[in-house]
Amino acid sequence: MKMSSDWLDIGTLNDIPKRAARVVKTARGDIAIFRTMDDQVFALDDKCPHKGGPLSQGIVQGESVTCPLHNWVISLKTGEAQGADQGCTRTIAVKLQDGRILLSWPGLAVKAA
C-alpha cells in the first residue's frame, strides 16, 4: 500500500484536453502527462528513446503517441517504441482520483541520472 503522501496532486483531468499532453517540470527534466480520448491518464519522461524528442508535443492516437521529430510511435502504457523501432521511455505511475491527477512522488525520485 502506498501512503497518500506518495501521490502528488498535479492538477485536474480537465486541465489537459482529450488526445493531448501537458508537461510537469521537475528538477530532473520534464514529465509528459497524457490524456487519451477515453480519459485515461499516462505519465512518461518527455523524451523519445530515438533522439530525445519531446513526446508531449506529439499526436496522441489511442494509447500511443507519435513523436514530433521523426514519427516514432511510443506506447503510453509501456513506454516501448512500436513497430520496427527499438527503444523505451520510462513511465511514471499516475492515477486519477475524483477528477484529480495524482503522480507518484517516489516514481519521480528514482529516475536514473
Partner: protein, 815 residues
C-alpha cells in the same frame, strides 16, 4: 332530451376533447361553444410558421366552420363569457346572452404575463399568444426597423426568429444567464445562443428590462444597466399564467390555476376545466401534449367512463427552422443522479441523458434530435436501460444496429449525391446509365456519363458503384488505403465527405467505418484538412489533429525549442520591423537570427513558453505569423521589378504583395510557395515555385507545379495573362482546385501528375465559368482563414499549450 354542454373557450384542448366526445357519444350532448376570439379552432403551435411566413392562417385551421355545422355544434365567435351563475346553472355573455347548462367546461387558456415596467401599455408593445398578435407583428415588420423581444424562452425565440425572417433587426433580451433555462441546461443554452446569433439576431442574457420608452408609441427599451435599445416593436414573451378569473368570480377553487381533480372536475361537480387554465396536483401546463392527455380524460368523464389524469412529463421542441433541440423530464444535477454526455463541437451536437436508479429521468438534445422520441418513450415507460447503457447515447439505430459492410457507405448514398465534382454527375445518373446501357467497365461509364473523366478523383467511388450495380461480376481496382485505420483511399474519403455531408472527424470515422477509435497521426491531420477545405466557416478545426507546428504556430527544432518567422509581405520590410525583431531577439535571449530563402527572418531557439510573449511584441510592431510551419501559403518571393530594376517589365514587388495579401492564411494539402520575377532573368526563382509568375513586356506568364525539394521541378507554363487582376483570379482558382482535389501531403506538382495537365488546363484556362466559380470559392474560404493565429493566442486562445501543468522544481529543490 340531450343534456346541454357549454364550453367556454375554443382552443386546442377543448377541440381535441370534442373529437373524443363525438366519437364516443355523438348524440348525448347538445353542445355550445363560446369563443372570445372571432375564429374557429386553429393550431396555435403553428403560429411561429405563420409569423415567419412559412404557413398561412388557412393552413393551420384544425376545425373549419363546416365541422361545427356537421356535428351540430353552436359556435359563438367573438363572444366572451362574463359570468357563471352556479345556482341557476347559467352563464352570461358580453353581448347579453344567458344560456343554461347541465355540464360546463371551462377552457379559458392562459394570459401572457406582462412585466409592469413603465411604458408596458404603449402601442407597439405586443404579446405572443394568438393570431391577432401575429397579424400585428407581421404588420409592424413591414416597416422593417428594430424589434426587441423580451424573454428568451420558447415563445420569445420563436417570435424573434419569425420577426428576423420578416426582415426586422431583432434583439432578444433575457433575464437569465442562458436561453430557455427551464428546458435546457447551460451547454445546450450556449449552443442555442450561438446559432440564434448566427441568424443575425442579437442576444442579451442577464439583462433586466427597466422601462419601455416612447411618447405615443414604442421607441425603445431601456435596460437596468442603462443600455437603450431602439425599437419600433416590442414583444413581451416572458411567460404565461393560467386564466382563472371567470372561475374565481364564480367562486370555484382557484390557486395558480383552476384546481381540478384527476377527472378534470372543479370544486363544482357539474363544472369541468382543462387546458392551460387548470392546476392539477399543483402543476400547470403550457405545452400541447399534456393538454391532449387531459382532453382524452375529460371526454371519458363526460360519458361516465372511468378515467384519470395522472399528470404529464413534458417534452419541448423549438419550432424554428434549422434549429434542432429537444428536452424532456428533469435534467438538474443532483447527488443521486448520473449522466451520459456526448458532445460533438464540430457539428454543434450536444446530447445529455440524466439517469437515476438505472432509468432515464431527463434528456437534453441539441443539434441532433432524431432520437428524442425514443429517449422520451424510455423515460415515460420508466424502462430499465442497464442492458444498453454503453451505447444508449448513440440512439436507437446504434443500440440495435449491426455494423455496416464495406460497400454500405456507398450503397447508402442517395441517388442525388454528387459523385463527380468536375462534371457534376450524381449517383443515380451513373447507376442508371450502367443499367440502361449495359455498361461493364470504367471506361464505358466515363464515356457515357463523363463521371471520373476529368480529374479522376472519384474513380474509386465510380468503381464501387459499378461493383454495386453489377454485383460480383465486377472487381473494382482497390485504391490505396489512406492509412491503416481505413480501407478507403484519399479520393474516396474526400468525395464521401462531400456526398454524405460529413462535417466532423468523429462523423467521418463513424460513417466511413474507421477501424481505430480515434485515428492515427497520418489520417487525423488529413481528415482535419479535408473537412476544413470542404466546409469553410462551418467546420471547427480540431487542434489535436494537427502536427505540433500547426498546433502552436511555430516550427519545432531538434532540441524541442521553436523557430518564429513573421510575415514580410513580398519580402519587403522596414527599419521599424527590423528594430522590433532585434528587440525581441534581445528580450527573449533568442540565440540565432537567420535570413530565410523565402525573403524573411527566422528567429531560432525560442522556448515554447516564450512564444506568446514573442508574438505579442511582433504583433505590436504590426507583424503577423508567416505560416512558415504550415501546410498552407508560405511566402511570395519577389524581385524589385520596374520600381528599381533597369530590366524590369512589370511591378513584380507590388504584384507579389497583392498575391500574398490575397492568399495568406489559406490551408492547403501541402506547403505552397509563390514567386514573382520582374523579367525572364527570373531573379525571384519563380520557375521552381508551386505557382510562379514571370513578368514580360506583354503581361505575365502563369507557371505552376515547380518545387525545390528532394526532387527539383521546373514549372510548367500554363498560360499567359495580361493584367494583375487576371493573375489574382487564376492564382485563386488554381489554389482552390488544388485544395479541392489533392491528397493531403501532395504538393502541386504531385497532384498535377496524378490528375493530368489537360484536366487542370481545361478547368482553369478553357472553362471561364468554372475558373470564376473556383475563384469565388477560394475568396469565400479566405473570409474564414485570414485570422492571425499569433494574435489569437496572444489574446489567450489555447493558453494551456504554453504553460506547464505543474512545476515541481522548487518543491524538489527544497527537499
Amino acid at each position: 332530451m340531450a343534456e346541454r354542454l357549454l364550453i367556454v373557450g375554443n382552443g386546442m384542448a377543448p377541440g381535441r376533447m370534442l373529437e373524443h366526445l363525438l366519437e364516443k357519444a355523438s348524440g348525448r350532448y347538445d353542445i355550445t361553444i363560446f369563443n372570445a376570439e372571432p375564429r374557429v379552432n386553429y393550431d396555435r403551435i403553428m403560429l411561429s410558421p405563420v409569423l415567419s411566413g412559412e404557413k398561412s392562417y388557412e393552413q393551420i385551421v384544425i376545425h373549419g366552420d363546416g365541422w361545427y355545422i356537421k356535428n351540430g355544434i353552436t359556435l359563438h365567435k367573438g363572444t366572451k363569457v362574463t359570468g357563471i351563475d352556479r345556482a341557476a346553472k347559467t352563464i352570461t355573455t358580453d353581448n347579453g346572452l344567458t344560456e343554461a347548462y347541465d355540464k360546463l367546461v371551462i377552457a379559458t387558456g392562459s394570459v401572457p404575463f406582462i412585466i409592469p415596467v413603465p411604458g408596458h401599455n404603449l402601442p407597439g408593445v405586443l404579446s405572443y399568444r394568438d393570431l391577432d398578435d401575429v397579424d400585428a407583428m407581421i404588420l409592424a415588420s413591414k416597416a422593417r426597423g428594430n424589434a426587441v423581444v423580451i424573454g428568451g424562452g420558447l415563445l420569445g425565440l420563436e417570435a424573434a426568429a419569425g420577426l428576423a425572417e420578416q426582415g426586422m433587426d431583432v434583439t432578444v433580451v433575457h433575464l437569465m444567464p442562458t436561453l430557455m433555462e427551464r428546458q435546457l441546461d447551460a451547454s445546450a443554452g450556449y449552443l442555442l445562443k450561438k446559432q440564434i446569433e448566427q441568424r443575425g439576431i442579437k442576444v442579451l442574457t442577464g439583462a433586466n428590462t427597466k422601462a419601455i420608452l416612447g411618447k405615443d408609441k414604442v421607441e425603445g427599451v431601456e435596460l437596468e444597466d442603462g443600455t437603450v435599445l431602439p425599437a419600433s416593436l416590442v414583444v413581451m414573451a416572458v411567460g404565461i399564467r393560467p386564466n382563472g378569473w371567470l372561475a374565481k368570480e364564480a367562486g370555484l377553487t382557484v390557486n395558480r390555476g383552476i384546481v381540478v381533480d384527476d377527472q378534470m372536475r372543479t370544486s363544482d361537480p357539474d363544472i369541468f376545466a382543462l387546458g392551460e387554465c387548470v392546476e392539477h396536483r399543483g402543476a400547470t401546463y403550457g405545452l400541447v401534449a399534456p393538454l391532449y392527455e387531459m382532453a382524452g380524460v375529460l371526454a371519458k368523464t363526460l360519458v361516465d367512463e372511468p378515467a384519470a389524469y395522472n399528470g404529464s412529463v413534458t417534452a419541448t421542441k423549438l419550432k424554428v427552422t434549422g434549429i434542432s433541440l429537444f428536452s424532456a423530464g428533469d435534467f438538474a444535477e443532483a447527488k443521486d443522479r448520473e449522466e451520459i454526455v456526448l458532445r460533438d463541437a464540430a457539428r454543434g451536437v450536444y446530447k445529455r441523458l440524466v439517469l437515476k436508479d438505472g432509468k432515464i429521468i431527463g434528456t437534453v438534445l441539441y443539434g441532433d434530435v432524431e432520437d428524442g422520441a425514443w429517449f422520451f418513450q424510455l423515460l415515460r415507460e420508466g424502462a430499465d436501460i442497464a442492458e444498453m447503457r454503453q451505447t444508449l447515447i448513440f440512439g436507437q439505430g446504434y443500440a440495435g444496429g449491426t455494423p455496416l459492410d464495406p460497400m454500405a457507405a456507398v450503397a447508402a448514398l442517395p441517388d442525388e449525391a454528387e459523385i463527380c465534382g468536375c462534371n457534376g454527375v450524381c449517383k443515380g445518373k451513373i447507376t442508371g446509365a450502367i443499367t440502361a446501357n449495359g455498361l461493364t467497365s470504367l471506361d464505358e461509364v466515363r464515356a457515357v456519363t463523363k463521371a471520373s473523366a476529368s480529374c479522376g478523383s472519384c474513380t474509386g467511388l465510380v468503381e464501387k458503384l459499378i461493383g454495386l450495380t453489377l454485383g460480383d461480376t465486377y472487381a473494382p481496382k482497390a485504391s490505396k488505403a489512406a492509412c491503416g485505420c481505413t480501407d478507403l483511399g484519399h479520393d474516396d474519403i474526400r468525395r464521401l465527405i462531400i456526398a454524405k455531408e460529413l462535417k466532423s472527424i468523429p462523423a467521418v470515422m463513424q460513417e466511413l467505418e474507421w477501424k481505430t477509435s480515434c485515428g492515427c497521426s497520418k489520417c487525423r491531420p488529413a481528415l482535419n484538412y479535408y473537412l476544413l477545405a470542404t466546409w469553410p466557416g462551418e467546420y471547427v478545426d480540431d487542434n489535436q489533429s494537427r502536427f505540433i507546428n500547426e498546433r502552436v504556430h511555430a516550427n519545432i527544432q531538434k532540441d524541442g525549442t521553436y523557430s518564429v518567422v513573421p510575415r514580410m509581405w513580398g519580402g519587403m520590410t522596414t527599419a521599424a520591423e527590423l528594430r522590433a525583431i532585434a528587440d525581441v531577439a534581445d528580450k527573449f535571449n533568442i540565440p540565432t537570427v537567420k535570413v530565410t530563402g523565402g525573403q524573411r527572418i527566422d528567429l531560432l531557439g525560442v522556448k515554447k513558453e516564450d512564444l506568446p510573449g514573442v508574438w505579442a511584441d511582433l504583433n505590436a510592431a504590426g507583424m503577423v505569423s508567416g505560416h512558415a510551419y504550415a501546410k498552407g501559403l508560405r511566402t511570395v518571393k519577389t524581385c524589385v521589378g520596374t520600381e528599381w530594376c533597369r530590366f524590369g517589365t512589370q511591378d513584380s514587388t507590388g504584384l507579389g504583395i497583392k498575391l500574398e495579401k490575397f492568399t495568406w492564411g489559406s490551408w492547403t494539402p501541402h506547403k505552397v510557395k509563390l514567386g514573382v520575377s520582374g523579367c525572364p532573368r527570373n531573379c525571384a526563382e519563380a520557375t521552381i515555385k508551386d505557382i510562379g509568375i514571370v513578368c514580360i513586356d506583354s503581361g505575365y506568364e502563369f507557371h505552376i507545379a515547380g518545387a525545390a525539394g528532394m526532387e527539383v521541378k521546373a514549372t510548367i507554363l500554363l498560360c499567359k495573362l495580361e493584367t494583375e487582376e487576371e493573375v489574382l483570379e487564376y492564382t485563386g482558382a488554381l489554389m482552390q482546385l488544388y485544395r479541392e482535389q489533392a491528397h493531403y501531403l501532395d504538393r502541386i506538382h504531385k497532384w498535377l501528375h496524378r490528375v493530368g495537365l489537360d484536366s487542370v488546363k481545361q478547368q482553369i484556362v478553357e472553362d471561364g465559368v468554372r475558373r470564376r466559380a473556383l475563384f469565388a470559392r477560394f475568396v469565400q474560404a479566405q473570409k474564414f482563414a485570414q485570422v492571425d493565429p499569433w494574435a489569437e493566442r496572444v489574446a489567450g486562445a489555447f493558453d494551456y499549450e504554453f504553460k506547464p501543468l505543474a512545476d515541481l522544481r522548487i518543491s524538489q529543490a527544497a527537499e
